[in-house]
Structure formats: structure tokens, C-alpha cells
Amino acid sequence: MTGVGAAPTLGAPADDGVRSVPARAKPRSVLGHWRLYLAISPFYLLFLCFGLIPVGFSLYLSFHRWDGLGSMEYAGLSQYRYLLSDGQFWNSLTNTLIIWAIATLPMLFIALVTAVMLNSAVRFKNFYRFAYFLPNVTSVVAVAIIFTSIFSTNFGLANAVLQGLGLDQVAWLNTDWGIKISIAVLMTWQWTGYNALIFLTGLQTIPSELYEAARVDGAGPVQTFFRITVPMMRPIILFTLVVSTVTGLQSFTEPQVLLANTNNTSTFAGGPGNSGQTMVLYFFQQSFDNNDFGYGAAIAWGIFLVVAIFSIVNWRLVQRGEK
């Protein structure tokens, strides 16, 4: 919603040095700094109205039953208890994790290989960077529409290729695994180049002596990749893993647009059999299709908990990698 915030910042807030401020800054009263407070106030006012109050309200809401119109009814922990036994929520959690696993892991591997190749290419470097970054610039809606046509059962390009190879057609957007694979392919296509460019910045910090030493010892490109590049890049690989986990676990637009016309009961259903319904899609379905705002808020906190657990696990891995 805040747009640019989509790229989470995990880097440590660099030298937040109080000492860098020159000594001339005389200690003045809080009121004496009114210009400064006024200058930073827009962000905090917006945060208060559209950030802090909403978060507090959603906590309050999760303990109540509310359809958005009538009066709120206290429900205690019942909605959380229901969440734990809600098969559709667990289904959406499983879907999210499967899609994340088949999208993120291959994506990061391809991105790393691409970055290594980009790093050793001398010519056309800027052209390559530009071309690889372009998918990330494009709107997910346009991309999802394009992939809907590619994965269409009767005339889609994916099936035309299969047919050309003498294989059977696959009802991509109608079967359990077809749906998950389609979403994963879309995500991989859109984010590989972005991650490759992030990796590239890390590769440029590896000292070239290491590679020369490896070459002298007779190591081939594959050996060099797994013995030098991957270990040296461990912190940044884990960084991209953390970022793509946080964004991947909150995926919404990809499955929503890709599967919007495959199920006529709800545009948040995630296709036939809810096979592509991610946690956030389920949240939207309960909140805005069923107008069950109280339960929606409970789901949102459930998602928050899942993302937090995964982030902590990932963060632990990062810490260990940096030792």
C-alpha cells in the first residue's frame, strides 16, 4: 500500500552516529526545534492514522464478530480457536508454502547463475541488466493476464509446445498442481532478474585473487561456483531468501489475477478446489466477500505469526552465516 515499501530493508541502519552532528548544535528545548518536528510530522501523522490506529483496531476487531455494518459483538478467543481448526486456512497455508518452495528456490538458483555469468561478461553488460530487470518493472496485473493466455488449456502457448513435442495437454489452470506451477512460473519470471542484480552487487565484492588461485589449482567453472562463489555469497543469498520469503508468504496479486476467471463463486477463491488460494487471498475472501471483518482480522494476525516465525528462522540462518 505504501508502494515502494515492497522492497523490505533488512540492512542495518548504518552509522546512526549522534557524534556526527557538530558541537555547535546547542542544547535547546523541544519547543525550540519546532521546525524540525513540523518537517517530520507528515509521516508520523499518516502513520498514526493509517498505520498505528489500524493495527490496534485490527487487534480489537479480531476479538469481535462484525460484518462492517451492524454492531460489534464480543467473541473472545473464539475466532482464533476457529482459525486453528479451519481446514480452508490450513489449505491456504499449505498452498502458500508449496508455491513459495517451487518458486523461490529455483528462482534464487537461476538468479545466482545468471549473476555469475553477468559478472564475467565484458560486453553488453548494461543491455543485459536492463533486459533482465524489465519483467520486475511490469505490473503484476499485465503479467498475470499474459500468463493466463500462455497457460490457457485450449489454445495456450504452453500446451501448443507440449502438443508440438507430441505430449498430452495439461489443464494448467484447472488442476491442483497445474495452478501451483503456473503461479510459481509467473513469480520466477518476474523476480529472477531482480535477484540476479542484487547478487551481482555482492559478486563484485569477492576478491578476484580467490578465483585466480582456484584457476591455478585447476578448478573448473562448476567447481569454482560451488566451492567459492556460493560460500562467499552466503550472507547475500540468505538476505534474498529472507526478502523473498516475506514477500512470497504474502503473495496475493499473482494468484488473484491469474485465477480470477476460473472460479465464478469468488474472485479470491484461487481457482478450482482453492488450489491456488494463498493465505492473503483467503484473508481477502473472508473479509471482503463474506464481510466477516472480525474473522478476517484474526486471519491477518495468523498470517503475521506465520511470516514472523519464518522471518525469525531465516534471520537465525543469516546470523549463523555471518559468523
Binding site: M1, T2, G3, V4, G5, A7, T9, P13, A14, V21, V30, H33, A39, I40, F43, F50, I53, P54, F57, T114, M117, A121, R123, F124, N126, Y128, F130, F133, L134, P135, T138, S139, V141, A142, A144, I145, I146, S149, I150, S152, F155, L157, A160, Q163, G164, T192, L197, L200, T201, G202, F239, F252, Q256, V257, A260, N261, F283, F293, A300, F304
Partner: protein, 275 residues
């Protein structure tokens, strides 16, 4: 030497293969948007552009108010971009160059906001917007996005590195007040950082989907992404030529902005700025 040349060739062939995969969906959009529905449903699929682009665009304009929704998107994206540039750089200037009580705490609070997932705020934001009477109007998109933590953090890092204390001191000796220091001293120095933030904000706003989908329930005020997705959800009989023509036209303004700013984005990416 022969070995290295062969390796170089393999390298470029692999990289170009990657580029083709990367760019193919764009080409495919062009192909489909220039064919009629009957041509699209034929086997084998058409791989070259056809001649029905005009017709598809005509259908598109009949189906949705394309320019109306593009205009809405443009209003939102442009106003958010300017507001973000102004509010974020002003706050960043304060955080980067001034010392005041509570500075650290306020900064930490701001960084903490990153961690709160957006969907936690979606329902209450909707309720607040409804109470304010903003649901269905573009105000509901512009106001909450008018300042953000990412931009403040990004501009602060940029200003810390590029506005020297000597410059601040001499401008003060020359009698510059706070606002003149911001406007005449800080802003000209950080123009590249502003350009980067501006382009990214514009693109993010142009592509935003989830919140406009909720907040714009009045069909007079949909944004382009919402309008496009509505085309796609016509059950069963989607006119793909028309939809793809829409997707293609919606891309153009974005690509223009991206091409203009590409040099800046690539330079900042190379420095590892997007993190």
C-alpha cells in the same frame, strides 16, 4: 586462447537465451494484441504479429473507459510521487543533518513500521476511509501513500553521504533559515537520489492493485490495473486480443518512465542501493 573464446561465446549465448525468456512475454503481448479472437484460437498458434490491433483497441475502448482509468492512475501516481518526494526528503533532511530530542526513538519507530504486514491494516484502513467518506475517491489512494518509511530511510542515507557539514555551516553563516537550507542547499545536491525515489514511487503506484481493488468500489474511479483485471474476469469467453491490447497500452507510460530513469536505476542498483 581458443578455449576462452569458446567459453565467452557460450556465456553470451546463455545470457541471450535468458534475455529472450525475459522479454518473450512482452513480445507475446504484441503478437496476441494484433490478432482477432478466431486467429488466436487456431492451432498452431500464431508467432508473428497480425493486423487486428485497431479492432482490438476499438473493442477495448468500448468495454472499459481506458483513458479515464489511465487518467485516474496518472493523477494518483503523479500526486503521490510529488508528495513522497517532498515529505520524505524533508524528513530525511531533518534526520540526516539535525540533532533534536527524541531523534533516535523517532527513527527507530519509523524503521519498525517496515515490519508490519499491509493486510493487518487493510480492514481498519477501509473502515477509516469509509468514516472519512473517501471510499470510492482517489483521495483514499493518495493520502495514505503520501509519505513512507522506505523513502525517508533511502533519502537519509543519501543525504548523510552527500551533504557535507561545511556546506551546512557556510549556508548558515550566509543567513539561510531551515527552509532555505532545505530548498537551496540540500535538494540540488541530492537530485540523483530524488530521481531514483521518484521513479520507483511512480512505478509502484502505477502498478498498485490490492488497495485500489478494495478502496475504489465506485466504478467511476477505477485505476488502470483494476480496470484491466476486470477485463480478464469476464467468465469463459475472454477476448484475449482485446485484453492483451489493453495490457500493452497500459505498459507504455510505465516503460517511458522506466527508459527515462533507467540509467539512474541501473547506477543505483550497481551500488547496491535497493536493499
Amino acid at each position: 586462447m581458443k578455449g576462452t573464446r569458446a567459453r565467452g561465446l557460450t556465456l553470451h549465448i546463455s545470457l541471450i537465451a535468458g534475455v529472450l525468456v525475459s522479454l518473450f512475454p512482452f513480445y507475446w503481448t504484441v503478437v496476441m494484441s494484433t490478432h482477432s479472437s478466431t486467429e488466436i484460437f487456431q492451432y498452431p498458434p500464431k508467432l508473428l504479429p497480425g493486423s487486428h490491433f485497431d479492432e482490438n483497441v476499438h473493442h477495448l475502448f468500448q468495454k472499459i473507459d481506458f483513458f479515464g482509468s489511465m487518467f485516474n492512475t496518472l493523477i494518483v501516481a503523479v500526486s503521490v510521487t510529488f508528495l513522497v518526494l517532498f515529505f520524505d526528503s524533508l524528513a530525511a533532511f531533518v534526520f540526516a543533518k539535525f540533532h533534536f530530542p527524541g531523534r533516535r526513538a523517532l527513527f527507530v519507530i519509523m524503521m519498525g513500521i517496515f515490519m508490519v504486514p499491509a493486510q493487518l491494516q487493510a480492514i481498519p484502513q477501509f473502515v477509516i476511509m469509509a468514516k472519512l467518506g473517501w471510499i470510492g475517491s482517489l483521495t483514499s489512494l493518495v493520502v495514505p501513500a503520501a509519505a513512507n518509511a522506505f523513502g525517508i530511510f533511502w533519502m537519509r542515507q543519501y543525504m548523510k553521504g552527500s551533504i557535507h557539514d561545511e556546506l551546512m555551516d557556510s549556508s548558515r553563516l550566509d543567513g539561510c533559515g531551515f527552509l532555505r537550507q532545505y530548498w537551496h542547499v540540500a535538494l540540488p545536491v541530492v537530485r540523483p537520489g530524488l530521481a531514483f525515489l521518484g521513479i520507483f514511487t511512480f512505478m509502484a503506484q502505477w502498478n498498485d492493485y490490492a488497495w485500489p481493488l478494495i478502496a475504489l468500489i465506485n466504478p467511476d474511479h477505477v485505476t488502470l490495473q483494476v480496470a484491466l483485471s476486470q477485463l480478464n474476469s469476464v467468465n469463459g469467453t475472454t477476448d484475449y486480443g482485446m485484453v492483451m491490447a489493453g495490457a500493452l497500452l497500459a505498459l507504455i507510460p510505465l516503460l517511458v518512465v522506466f527508459f527515462i530513469g533507467a540509467r539512474q536505476i541501473m547506477a543505483d542498483l550497481a551500488k547496491g542501493a535497493i536493499r
